[in-house]
């Protein structure tokens, strides 16, 4: 399984700021390795954040998203102690799910 995401979810007022660092090569499929062979495309395609069973944010990535990408978003209606679950799936079907507990800012 891929390396875990590093996630921070901080409640400021009524908004929870979530910042996620994902660990992924995000190969475009255009790079050549030292031997001159094209490295195949390998990249996160779908990202999803759920809170209390509801999808609160989601994204589709292409290979132009940076290696080891960061993603940030802001949700309403979360309380300190709530869990936010992050999930990503890549073009090979590999996936990663991690959760974070909302903390005060």
């Amino acid at each position: 399984m891929a390396d875990p995401m590093k996630i921070r979810a901080r409640l400021q007022g009524d908004k929870t700021q979530v910042i996620v660092s994902m660990s992924h090569e995000m190969e475009t499929g255009q790079r050549k390795d030292a031997a001159g062979k094209t490295v195949p495309a390998w990249f996160i395609q779908n990202v999803k954040a759920t809170h209390n069973g509801k999808v609160v944010f989601s994204a589709q990535f292409g290979p132009a998203v940076a290696k080891n990408p960061n993603i940030g978003f802001r949700v309403n209606g979360a309380k300190v102690g709530d869990k936010i679950i992050m999930n990503w799936v890549d073009n090979r079907g590999d996936n990663r799910t991690d959760e974070i507990t909302v903390t005060p800012a």
Binding site: K15, M26, T28, Q30, R31, Q45, N46, K54, V55, V56, F57, S58, A59, Q60, F61, G62, A64, V65, A66, K67, P69, N70, I71, G72, F73, R74, V75, N76, G77, V89, N91, G93, D94, N95
Partner: protein, 157 residues
Amino acid sequence: MNRREALKTTGGSTVMALLVSAGLIKPTDVFAQATDWNKNAFDTKNLNDTVKALGGTTATLSKDIVFSSAPDIAENGARVPIAIVSNIPKTDSISILVEKNPNSLAATFFIPSGTEAFASTTVKMGQTSNVYAVVSADGKFYYATKEIKVTLGGCGG
């Protein structure tokens, strides 16, 4: 037979179910295949084609889309941080396009109602380029643009 071949056969989903119950593939493999990814949108080469692939017709320039954080000059094109805020009511998606990249669309963020119309990420830019923030709201498309200069290109080519 791997899962891709299984899906392509007639009655592929039945084959998938049989393979899962036979223990030959994991249920997570099935869910991974079922995720939506807008391949057409990620193959487009310019703003208008991307907007069409995202389900729109044209995009209108809007002052209510803000690059809340984006460099004027990116030292490293492999990793350009971009944050976008949309003040357009009923925003349901925000997309980042890099005009001079091999394909325009870098990412699309979906904003369910109740979530702030804000998204940030890091993108690769091959060279100095206009970057577009495209917003869909209530069936219409809008955009804002900013040039980001790149001193060291980031596509590894």
